[in-house]
Structures are given as C-alpha cells and as structure tokens.
C-alpha cells in the first residue's frame, strides 16, 4: 500500500490531462462525481494540500510523533476521525 503521507516529487498531470488521477477512467462503469470536483479545484487544491502536509510534518517532528510512526505505532486518531467524533485528542 502506498505511503499516503509521502510527498510525491513527480508532477501531477494538469487537471485537463486525461492522465490526471481525477480523470474518469476509460471503461469505468460508475461515474465519479467527486472526481470532476477535484479536477476543477486542483490548481487551488495542490498548494493547500502541500501546506497541510508541511504543517503536519513539522508538528510530528515537534511532538515526536514521527518517531512513533517510524516504530510502527498505529495512529488511532484515524479511526475516531471517521467513526466517532465526540472525543478529542491526537497521538503523541
């Protein structure tokens, strides 16, 4: 499984490029309405995502969470973020 926290140095194709990840796949049985939205927002989205990544990495260095991740500690906040939100906290 790809490491989704890694910043990819390869340039993402332009939003109107058929190779763009958000482009509809040829032969795709199901329309993906979200793909069009992502594609349209890509120019503004890309720097925003880069900023979020940089902020998260700086935070992880500050708290030592990067070391915990390197040890393989699961980030349980991933779970409550998607399943239960009446609780706040984050990994050390």
């Amino acid at each position: 499984m790809p490491d989704v926290t890694r910043t990819h140095s390869e340039p993402v194709p332009a939003p109107d490029d058929p190779r763009h990840p958000a482009s509809p796949e040829e032969g795709s049985a199901r329309p993906d309405p979200l793909a069009a939205r992502v594609r349209a927002a890509t120019p503004g989205l890309r720097p925003l995502v880069a900023r979020a990544t940089a902020v998260r990495r700086a935070r992880e260095r500050l708290t030592g969470a990067d070391a915990a991740k390197a040890r393989g500690a699961p980030r349980w906040t991933d779970v409550f973020t998607t399943q239960f939100t009446e609780f706040s906290n984050r990994p050390r």
Partner: protein, 405 residues
C-alpha cells in the same frame, strides 16, 4: 491525517472477519472491486471508551446522553474485567488508549477515577471533560497519571448559550476557570466545539477564538440529532458548505491549530490528487468498544450506550464484561454479526456501493442511521451531509476560489 502507518496498523490490529482487504486501483474513486477500506473488523481496537459515571453536572441543550442526571458509577469490578482484556491487547500493539468519557468523567471524583484506572497497564489514558470541574487538584491528577485532556467548549460566551447547568445558567465562566487551571499547569488540551448554526462568519470567529484560547487541536461537530437530542439537524447545504469553506480559509491563513475536519479533508484530497484515494481509510473497521457504567458493551457507536428500550431494538448492548471477556465480545460480533450489527453492516456495504464519498468517511455512523431513520441499513444521513459531504465540498469550494491559499 491517516499516515503511512496504515500498513503497519494492519499487522498490529489483525482482521478477524469480512472480505480480505486488498489495495485498490489508483484513482480518485474506488477500484474495480469498489472501495477497499473499512472491510472486516479489527480484532484489537485502537481505543476503548469507559463511562465512569452516567452523571453530568451540565445539561447542554444538544446532549445525546440519556440518564445524565443520575449518578450511576462504574464499579471497580467492571474496570478490572475490562483491564484483563485491555492489558493483553496492549501487549500486542504499540499503543492503546483508554478514554474516560461520560457523563462527565470528573464527576466521578479523583479517588474513584484513580481506582478505576489502577488495573490498567501500559496504556495511554485520556479524558474528555466539560472542564467545569477542573482545578489545581485535577491538574495535578492529570499530570500524575499522564492523562491527555480534551475539553468541550463551543466558542466565546456569546456562542455558548446551549452549554448550561441544570438551573439553566451558562457554564462558560466555569469552563474558563478550568481552562485557566490547565494553562497554569502547562497542560495541553484539545477542544471539541459543537456548532448548531453554521455560518461563514461563525467559522472565522471560532477559529480566531480557539487560537487565542490556547488549545492545540480543534474538532468541530455540527450538532447531530441523536440519542435523546431530537432537535432538528437539517441545514441548508449552501450555509454549511460556506461554513466549512470559511474555516478552511481561516486555517490556511494561520495553520497553528490542528484542525481535524479541514486537515482530514486535505489529507484525503491530497491522496485523491495522487490517485490514492482508496488507500486513505483504515483497512479494517475499529470496533470502538464502549463500556457503560454497569459493564454493558456497545460497539461502533458509543452514542448507543444507555438505551434500554429502543423501539425495535431494545438494548443495543452486545455483551457485559462481567459475564464475558471484552475480547470475546468483539470477536463474536466480528465473526457472527446479528441483530442491529448485521443490519448496520448491510448499510455500510450499501454506502460502499453507492456513495462517492465512502473513501473519505467509511460509511454513515451507526448511531446517526438509527437516530435519524430508526434503522441501521439506511445510507446517507443528515450527519453525513453536514459533516462529511458538505465538509469535503466546502474545502473544495475554497480551493476552487483560491489559486494560492
């Protein structure tokens, strides 16, 4: 916020049920086999919630908890039974968290809470509190037990009118005294903020307020119709999207706060840009065990705890730790889901099949399905719309308007 540790989490939290989790084809949406995350149930949860008391000293207008005016305390026997399983789990994973939730957990008192915590070993303790009871003695308790602290506050006094005590008096000043104590002792704290009427103006006001308050982490919950809260949670799509878009703008201008909803969205959208949207969700569903004061256990949605006579379902409890090990309860439900859990799993699979946002959220929450629709096999809920779909769309709205955030 999902890290590359997902792959590691798969090893640490083995699956015991459900179709095998396989990596999907890269793309913004699912691969040919559909979304591949959240399949099966993790044998070992990441955390459990414990209810040391049903009592809450506040009576917030939107609270979902039944029976919060009564002080039913968890016995040490219940805590010890839970610890037997949890201590074994904690030896098999890198991290395990026990969250003391409520009621208001501090209403149990320091002595009793300490007794409940005593049998747990090698775990991280967390508390989610309304902060009104926090004083120097509680701060010393938090430090002594290395507890992570999360508080609930809805913004400045003018925005916190729904957080009141049983006499209807605003709790805001008491909450601020608790915050002052935390700051005095140098204890970092996270915040959950409930928003009942989302507007872009409120988003900006809240972000500035919480920066000033000094929390390090902020989660925003749009008020939900669940539990004993039957207030309508239908909201205008445009207003909710504008709220999230404005919050994204505020965060982008000064990203000092870890902002759960916006950062989670950007994490997902970043993966989508890379064609990895289907890798974001945890591979397995966390059972999120909640242990009520009397030892009864509900899984997946803590909000279901405490309901004895739900129409059509009765008691949502899936076992009692005084009779059965918590590990056995989790295993049994994962292998042989019956009743409301089977219905919920059917609903999740329908979400997986039909919802383009599944890779972002993992399916509507069990409690929202039940409390909005009266059953568990429905799909999109009002909570989905306000807190998942309109959130993602609001972040995209912001990105679409700003070439350089």
């Amino acid at each position: 916020m999902v890290g590359g540790c997902n792959a590691v989490a798969e090893q640490a939290h083995p699956t015991v049920a459900g179709p095998p989790a396989t990596a999907g084809e890269p793309g913004t949406g699912p691969g040919p086999e559909g979304w591949t995350g959240m399949r099966g149930v993790a044998e070992i949860p990441s955390y459990i919630l414990m209810q040391p008391t049903t009592l809450c000293n506040l009576d917030c207008a939107y609270c979902y908890l039944p029976g919060r005016s009564a002080d039913h305390r968890m016995s040490e026997r219940v805590a010890a039974a839970v610890a037997t399983t949890v201590n074994a789990w904690a030896q098999r994973v890198e991290r395990f968290s026990v969250v003391w939730h409520g009621g208001e957990p501090l209403a149990a008192g320091r002595e009793h809470l300490a007794a409940l915590m005593a049998p747990f070993e090698r775990i991280e303790h967390h508390v989610q509190t309304n902060a009104t009871l926090i004083d120097d003695a509680w701060c010393e308790f938090f430090l002594a037990h290395q507890m992570e602290v999360g508080i609930s506050v809805d913004g400045p006094a003018t925005r916190s009118a729904l957080r009141t005590d049983r006499s209807g008096h605003p709790a805001y000043d008491r909450i601020m005294r608790g915050v002052a104590a935390l700051r005095r002792h140098g204890i970092r704290f996270a915040v959950i903020c409930v928003v009942s009427d989302p507007t872009p103006e409120l988003a900006i006001e809240l972000y500035e307020y919480f920066l000033e308050l000094g929390c390090y982490w902020l989660g925003i919950n749009i008020e939900e119709r669940e539990g004993v809260n039957t207030r309508d949670n239908t909201r205008t799509e445009a207003r909710v999207r504008e709220f999230w878009a404005a919050l994204t703008a505020a965060w982008a201008a000064d990203p000092r706060l870890e902002l759960r909803e916006v950062e989670w969205s950007l994490h997902y959208l970043g993966a989508a840009l890379r064609g990895e949207a289907d890798t974001v969700l945890p591979r397995q569903r966390d059972p999120v065990p909640t242990v009520a004061h009397d030892g009864r256990v509900v899984l997946f949605s803590p909000e279901l705890a405490g309901f004895d006579r739900a129409p059509g379902y009765g008691d949502f409890a899936l076992g009692n730790v005084l009779d059965t090990g918590l590990d056995e309860i989790v295993r049994s439900v994962a292998h042989h889901p019956t009743g409301w859990v089977a219905e919920y799993f059917a609903g999740v699979e329908e979400c997986r099949r039909t919802c383009p946002y599944f890779g972002f959220c993992g399916g509507a929450h069990a409690s929202n399905r039940y409390f909005e629709a009266g059953r568990f096999d429905v799909t999109e809920t009002e909570h989905c719309r306000n807190t998942k779909i309109r959130l993602l769309e609001g972040v995209l709205d912001h990105a679409g308007r700003h070439q350089n955030p």
